[in-house]
Every structure is written in structure tokens, then in C-alpha cells.
């Protein structure tokens, strides 16, 4: 838009620049004080000077700010000299003007009034002279040298030299031709032929034009000084004069009348009419612009002077031909040019304006398209988001929109949701409690509500959610919008973390207790020992030492187990495929000593199964379970341990069964807690089963125990899902 504004400004500036001087120039002509100037005529008042009369009479000079005086020619005074001497500023004369210039006189041709010379040779019609050549040996009356130059040039061109003819001095009357004392007469063709006609004699004209010599006729002129000092006056005078001539040509009878009545002329109106007619033919006003000047013709005329040996060949016409010092804007071509430029500018400005407009429109449309695309995309993203997004009415609380994430989790279709409100899916809220809860949001007191609650699915199940509720009141229909996060995972992790924390607390608590207990024993019996040694009570000494030994053994075992326990799950794992068969046989190898000592039968029900896991972790499960069974075998007559796997639909359940002392169902869970020991009499730190449970859980498995009661044996069952993930057999089952 800025470019457009600048261009407008530029255009207006250029218009002012182009037209301002014109209006200024026009103003000047309105001036009331007229400049007096004089015009030297070459002859007496006659139609030859019609343009001046017309210009005066029509007020053209007045408009140009000029008060023009016309001076008639006086005998013996040359027109050119009169103007050069300053008696007049302007003049109208013939070829002598060019000759004067070629002689170095500072005259300047303003405009040729007649396009062709009025000077020619006239002969009687009844003579035998038909061409210049016929003049040889004849008496010829010529004008003064410089004005007859075209005639001389014609003769020369036709091979007639001055020596071939008898030159007679000019008398300016036709009498000699009438009485045939001369054969030919140089005349001014606008008036002499008329006079001859009047005398009843027919004539013939030998015109130089017909012989290739075409001179300008009467020419308006001034001096170099005038042009230099009053260039504007020159121009104004010239234009007004040419206007006058145009008027005179168009209204010749009016001007004839004017000359007859206003100017002291000897010529009759018929004579004047003859002049007018001849002049019109010479001026060709309808074909050639009045005053049109061609420098080439002046040069050709000058060449004639050179050929006549009147002047040297190295002449110069510089400064002779008037070139108006017109401001460029006044010249016709430049006006057209200016108009063209203005038009071009206007068109350019309009083009730019519409271009800018269309560009801006395109921009607006493009931006709108982009905005629409953006909001459409946002809409798609929100619809597809796994975050649940609910929009519901502020008044009715009815759902207006629920995105895919919300519909999928809730299990409701949009059609079903249109009939529901958030209360239908929020079991923890009633209409009253919910209304109270969202009141501050509705009142604008707060920007959003962030809270946790439960959402109930269509199938009745509930899931914990975090809700970010906001109100959008700017819409024509105020809405609530809620972004819902299903925080089931977060809650589960929180719970796990709490459990881990509790476990850790328990762990530290147990350690502090169980480590302190043997320490109390050692320290106390150390004191007893000191006393008993003093008393030399050998029985008591042995007892003291025995207790201390037991306590330190217990401590040592506890520390070993603790170390083992803490390692589980923290060591870098080396996951490898291990066959179930390998694991059981290795575990039995490790416990072989106790098994043979207690004469225990071992049954292994092996199936072809490969587990993927850390060997040192997995082997501990079976090793510890076998050790546990051996430990709690009791006084069984036929002690048996059975190891195997129930493979039910691709989810193998491993088991280690014994027929030992068994376990009361109330302790099923307690036995897996750390530092729990059911039987104080049995060796162990209470970490064995806790360790197994921990390993099983590392593989996302579960462990539990079954027993038909005390004395009826126990069976430990566990799963290890994580070890089966890469088992091709399992994958085929589509887990």
C-alpha cells in the first residue's frame, strides 16, 4: 500500500510540474501593460502584410501583451537595415534577408510567411519568350541584385548568363513592358501582373520554381539582440502574427475590407483580392502550416548565393534560423509526450492500485485459507488426541462434543453422550456438589479447575482421571470444556512407589531389629562370661559361649542374605535362553548334599521349554525353593520333592511340591514377607522366600503357596511371564 501511495504522490507532483508553467505563462498574457514594438514592412500597405492587420484587429497582439506599430517602406531605406538600426524590432522582407545574414549581419529568420518566392520574370503573352533560354539577347529589367538572385539562378541553371542578356535598370512600373521597351521584367507576382492585366495586356510568368529554384518568399525576421534580450516577446510576437495570418487566410475579404478602410492604401479592393488569391496559392495554408521553416531549404538557398559567387563557400547559417527557446513543456511534441507520460503514469498507478488490491485480497484469502486449514488441523488433532476432550453446555450440562479419545475410553457413542451430562460419568459427584464445585469457574472467579476424580465407563468400570476444566463464554452458547487425563497408570505407579517405600521402611526396620537382637545376646553373654569365668562356673561358661556363637552365626547369615537380597534386580542382567530342564537339574545339583543326607526322593516332570532370563536369578528360585522344602520336611518317613510345570494354554505355572510339615493357610502371605520365619527353630534369616518373590516379580510373575494344612506338605506355584516373551511358541499363541 505504501508503494501505491508513493506513486499517487509522484503522479500528482508530475502533473503539477508539467502544467504549472503553462498556467503561469497564460497569466502573463493577461497583463494590461502592453509593450510597444514596431514592424518594418517591405512595401506599402497591401495584402502582402495581411497577417499583421488581422492580428492587430483580432487583438492577438494585445493578448500577447504587445502594442504593434506597422511602418511602411520608405524609398531608399532597406528593410533589413531599418530593423538592424533599431528603428523597428521586427520586419518582413524577401531573399535579401538571407543575403544580409550571409554577409554577417545579425538577422534571424523567424518564419517564412510565403512558402515560395514572389519574385519571377514576367513577359508579354504575345512575345516569343517561353523559357529562360529565349531571353538571350533580350532586354531584361531585373530587381536589385540580392532580391533577383533566384531569377539569376534560374537563368544560370538554364545556361543563360548575365552577359547573354541586356540588363535594364528596374523602374518598378509596367510601362516599359507595355510599350515593349523591355522584353522581360522582374516582378513581384502579386501585384504587377494585375496591373498589366488592367492595361489590357496578357502576360506570361517565368517562375524560378519551375526551373528548380525554390526560394522562401517574404519572411518574418528580427535581430539576434531582440532574441537574446526579449526571447518571450519574440515568441509571443511570432505566434500572434502567425495566428493573424491564419485568420487572414480564412477571412481574406474581411481583411481586404480592413486594409481598404483602415489603412491608407492606393490599391483597389480588386487589386487586393488579386493579391490575396495569389498569396493563398503561394502560402498553401491548407497544406503547409503557416510559418513552417525548413533549415534544408535555407541551406539550398545559400548554395545558390555561393553558385552566383555572391558569397564564399565557407558560409555559416548558425543562428540565422530561429529556434524558439521554448520551454520543453511548451513544445508540441513534448506536450504530447507529457500527456503520454501522464497517461502512462495514471495507467501505471491504476494498475499498481488494482495489483496491490488484488494482491491484498489474495493475501487475505490466503491467510483466511491458512487460518481455516490451521483450525481444521487443530480440530483433527483434538479429535484424534488420546487426551479426552469434553465440551458440554453451561446451562444443561449436556455433552455437546466428546473427542475420539473420550468416546473410546468411556465406551459411549456421541449419540449416547448427547443425552448425558458429566454427572452420569462422575460417580463421585451429585448435581449439587458438582454445581457448587464449578460455581467459581462460572462466576469467573477462577480461570480453570484442576481436580482428580473417577470416571465411569459404559460397562460400569471406573478409572481415575485428572480433569482440567475451563469455561469458554465468548461463544454464542457458553460452554465448559474439559481436558481429561486418564491417570490409571500414574495412580498405579504412585501405589507401587508407596509400596516400595513401605517395603523399604520395613526392610530398614527389620534390619535394625534383627541385627540388634544377636548383638544384645553377644554383649550380654560376654558380661555373663566374664562373671562366670571369675566364678569358674564351667557349665555356665559353655552355655555363654554357645549363645554367643549362635548369635554371631545368625548375624553372619543375615548379612549374607541381605547382600544377596539387595543384589536381586540391581545387578546388570545377562539375558540368555535357558532350558527348563537345565535349570532344574542345576538346582538339584546345588542342593544334592542335603537331599541325599535327608534321603529325599526327587521327581522332576520336565517339558521342553526354554526360558529367557538371567541365569543367576532364575537358578535361585528353584534352589531356594528346594532348600525351603528340605528345611521344612520335618519328620516325614517318605520325604519327597516334586518339581515340574503345568502348561495351561501357553501360560506355564511352575511348581515345587513337598510332603513336609505344610503350612497353615493364615500364613500363606506372611511367609513371603522379609524376615518372616514361621518356625524359630529352623535355621534361616527369613529372607529366602522374600528373595524368591522378589525375583519372580522382576519377571512380572506371581508366587503363592498351597497346603492342605500342617503336616500335609506344601506346594509353591509361580509364573514367569517375562521369560517367555521371545519364545516363538508363545508368540504363535498370540500373546
Amino acid at each position: 500500500m505504501q508503494i501505491y501511495n508513493k506513486l499517487c504522490y509522484l503522479t500528482i507532483c508530475s502533473l503539477i510540474f508539467i502544467f504549472a508553467p503553462l498556467t503561469q505563462a497564460n497569466k502573463k498574457t493577461d497583463s494590461t501593460t502592453l509593450e510597444p514594438i514596431s514592424v518594418q514592412l517591405r512595401y506599402l500597405h497591401q495584402f502582402q502584410f495581411a497577417g499583421f492587420y488581422a492580428a492587430i484587429d483580432q487583438g492577438y497582439y494585445k493578448e500577447a501583451g504587445l502594442d504593434v506599430t506597422l511602418i511602411e517602406a520608405k524609398l531608399g531605406k532597406q528593410t533589413v537595415d531599418e530593423v538592424l538600426s533599431g528603428n523597428a524590432q521586427y520586419g518582413q522582407t524577401q531573399t535579401d534577408l538571407l543575403y544580409a545574414r550571409l554577409q554577417g549581419k545579425p538577422v534571424v529568420a523567424l518564419a517564412p510567411i510565403f512558402q515560395h518566392s514572389l519574385t519571377a520574370l514576367m513577359v508579354r503573352a504575345d512575345s516569343d519568350i517561353f523559357s529562360p533560354h529565349d531571353l538571350i539577347g533580350k532586354r531584361v529589367m531585373l530587381q536589385k541584385g540580392d532580391n533577383a538572385i533566384n531569377t539569376l539562378a534560374m537563368l544560370h541553371n538554364e545556361g543563360v548568363e548575365l552577359s547573354d542578356i541586356e540588363v535594364v535598370k528596374q523602374s518598378y512600373v509596367i510601362d516599359e513592358l507595355v510599350d515593349e521597351t523591355v522584353d522581360a521584367m522582374g516582378v513581384y507576382i502579386i501585384n504587377r501582373p494585375f496591373l498589366l492585366n488592367k492595361a489590357g495586356i496578357d502576360y506570361r510568368i517565368l517562375n524560378p520554381i519551375n526551373y528548380g529554384i525554390d526560394f522562401y518568399g517574404d519572411t518574418l525576421f528580427t535581430t539576434e539582440d531582440e532574441i537574446k534580450n526579449n526571447p518571450q516577446r519574440v515568441e509571443r510576437f511570432l505566434q500572434a502574427t502567425l495566428r493573424g495570418w491564419q485568420y487572414a487566410m480564412d477571412h481574406s475579404s474581411e481583411i481586404i475590407n480592413l486594409i481598404s478602410t483602415q489603412y491608407n492604401t492606393k490599391e483597389s479592393p480588386e487589386h487586393l483580392a488579386f493579391e490575396a488569391q495569389t498569396i493563398k496559392e503561394l502560402m498553401l495554408p491548407s497544406l503547409v502550416e503557416i510559418g513552417h521553416m525548413n533549415p534544408g531549404r535555407w541551406r539550398r538557398m545559400a548554395e545558390v548565393f555561393v553558385n552566383q559567387r555572391k558569397i564564399p563557400a565557407n558560409y555559416s547559417l548558425d543562428g540565422f534560423i530561429y529556434t524558439p527557446d521554448k520551454p520543453w513543456y511548451k513544445q508540441l511534441w513534448s506536450r504530447y509526450f507529457a500527456i503520454a507520460i501522464i497517461l502512462l503514469l495514471v495507467v501505471t498507478v491504476l494498475f499498481l492500485y488494482y495489483w496491490q488490491l488484488s494482491k491484498r485480497l489474495k493475501g487475505v484469502i490466503f491467510q483466511r485459507n491458512v487460518a481455516e486449514k490451521d483450525s481444521l488441523r487443530l480440530g483433527h488433532v483434538l479429535e484424534q488426541s488420546s487426551n479426552e476432550i469434553y465440551i458440554f453446555d453451561v446451562k444443561t450440562l449436556r455433552f455437546l462434543q466428546v473427542n475420539k479419545g473420550g468416546r473410546d475410553n468411556l465406551g459411549f457413542s456421541m449419540e449416547e453422550l448427547y443425552e448425558l451430562t458429566p454427572l452420569d460419568i462422575k460417580p463421585e459427584y451429585t448435581l449439587q456438589t458438582f454445581s457448587e464445585f464449578i460455581c467459581p469457574l462460572q462466576q469467573g472467579e477462577i480461570q480453570q479447575l484442576l481436580f482428580e476424580t473417577l470416571h465411569r465407563r459404559k460397562n460400569g468400570s471406573c478409572y481415575p482421571v485428572e480433569v482440567r476444566l475451563q469455561m469458554y463464554a465468548a461463544a454464542e452458547r457458553p460452554i465448559f470444556y474439559a481436558i481429561i487425563n486418564d491417570i490409571t497408570d500414574r495412580k498405579r505407579i504412585d501405589k507401587e512407589l508407596l509400596e516400595k517405600n513401605a517395603e523399604l521402611e520395613q526392610f530398614i526396620y527389620m534390619i535394625s531389629h534383627d541385627l540388634k537382637s544377636p548383638l544384645v545376646t553377644v554383649k550380654t553373654f560376654l558380661s555373663y562370661l566374664t562373671q562366670d569365668i571369675e566364678k569358674s562356673d564351667s557349665t555356665r561358661i559353655a552355655e555363654d559361649i554357645g549363645f554367643m556363637g549362635t548369635a554371631t552365626d545368625k548375624m553372619s547369615r543375615l548379612l549374607d542374605d541381605l547382600l544377596e537380597f539387595s543384589r536381586v534386580g540391581r545387578q546388570a542382567k545377562n539375558i540368555i535362553p535357558i532350558s527348563f530342564k537345565q535349570l532344574t537339574s542345576d538346582a538339584l545339583q546345588l542342593t544334592a548334599g542335603s537331599i541325599s543326607e535327608k534321603k529325599i526322593n526327587v521327581k522332576v516332570n520336565v517339558i521342553n521349554l526354554t526360558l529367557l532370563g538371567d541365569y543367576s536369578e532364575l537358578i535361585q528360585i528353584w534352589q531356594n525353593l528346594i532348600e525351603n522344602s528340605i528345611k521344612y520336611m520335618g519328620t516325614q518317613l517318605n520325604p519327597t520333592i516334586e518339581i515340574g510345570v503345568h502348561d495351561s494354554i501357553g501360560k506355564p505355572i511352575f511348581y515345587v511340591r513337598d510332603n513336609g510339615i505344610g503350612i497353615d493357610s493364615q500364613f500363606y502371605e506372611k511367609i513371603f514377607e522379609i524376615f518372616e520365619q514361621l518356625n524359630p527353630g529352623v535355621e534361616g534369616s527369613g529372607l529366602g522366600l522374600a528373595l524368591i518373590k522378589r525375583i519372580v516379580e522382576l519377571y512380572h510373575g506371581k508366587i503363592y503357596v498351597e497346603s492342605k494344612g500342617p503336616g500335609k506338605g506344601a506346594c509353591f506355584l509361580f509364573t514367569l511371564p517375562e521369560t517367555l516373551i521371545s519364545n516363538p511358541q508363545e508368540n504363535d499363541d498370540g500373546r
Partner: protein, 148 residues
């Protein structure tokens, strides 16, 4: 009460600790009978005269129970709760004697109406006077209600 045989029920999984208690109380000649059980289950069996403890003459009601908290099978706290919620057993003074000085244990014990809470000292020079005090306090000075 004079001349009546006095019975103390000692619930202690650590043999060594039981020996310490027995030695001291015997040294002070404060109790006629110290019955030692090693886990919570056995303690309750004794109090309810179940199985091996069904004879009231060989298993008399104790005048004092010394109860450890960390016990196999049934936890000391559970034993305490059972005693203090049973109208027949509630009057028997229960002194918690354990290695734990954890705030949680102390609080839970008193919340369940333990009569006293003692932490086993590491040093016999402190253990002995403590046990002596317990005996004198609970068996001599303390006026106990008539326990049926």
C-alpha cells in the same frame, strides 16, 4: 497374695534372650514359674489353654506377660491386641520387651493398651537392673487386680 505361686509368661523367639531374662528373675527370686514360649501362636495357645497347654494346673494364668514384638507366626502386636480385647485376659499386665525403639512400635503398643514398653539394653549392666525393677515393680509394688 502372699505365698501364692507367681507365674510369668515370657514370649521370646530368641533363646539367648529368654535365658537372660530367666537367669535374672531367678537370681532375684521373684517368680516361681517362668513359662517361655517362642512365638505368638504358642503364647495365645497357652493363654487359651489349647493343645499342650490345656491343663490349668501346669499352665496357670500368668501374673505378668513379657512380650517381644518381633515374633514368628503371630506377631507380638497381634498377641497384645488379642489379650487386650479379651475381657478374661485384659487385666493381665503386658510389658513389651523388645529390641526395637521405633516410634511406630511404641505408639502401636500403647494404642493397644500395653502396660509398659521396654527396650532391651545392649549392656548387661543395664539389662540386669531393668529386669530387677520390672520384677519388683510389677510383682511386688504394683497392686494387680484379681485375675481369674
Amino acid at each position: 497374695m502372699e505365698g501364692n505361686p507367681i507365674t510369668i509368661l515370657l514370649v521370646e523367639d530368641e533363646d539367648a534372650h529368654a535365658v537372660i531374662v530367666k537367669r535374672n528373675l531367678k537370681d532375684f527370686k521373684l517368680a516361681n514359674t517362668i513359662i517361655h514360649v517362642k512365638d505368638g501362636q504358642a503364647a495365645l495357645d497357652y493363654l487359651y489353654r489349647r493343645d499342650a497347654y490345656s491343663d490349668p494346673f501346669s499352665s496357670p494364668r500368668p501374673e505378668l506377660i513379657l512380650l517381644d514384638l518381633r515374633l514368628p507366626k503371630v506377631d507380638g502386636l497381634e498377641v497384645l491386641k488379642t489379650i487386650k480385647t479379651d475381657p478374661e485376659l485384659v487385666r493381665i499386665p503386658v510389658v513389651i520387651m523388645t529390641t526395637s525403639s521405633a516410634e511406630k512400635d511404641v505408639t502401636q503398643a500403647y494404642d493397644n493398651y500395653a502396660n509398659s514398653y521396654l527396650v532391651k539394653p545392649l549392656d548387661l549392666q543395664q539389662f540386669m537392673p531393668m529386669l530387677e525393677s520390672i520384677g519388683f515393680y510389677w510383682l511386688i509394688w504394683n497392686q494387680s487386680p484379681n485375675i481369674v
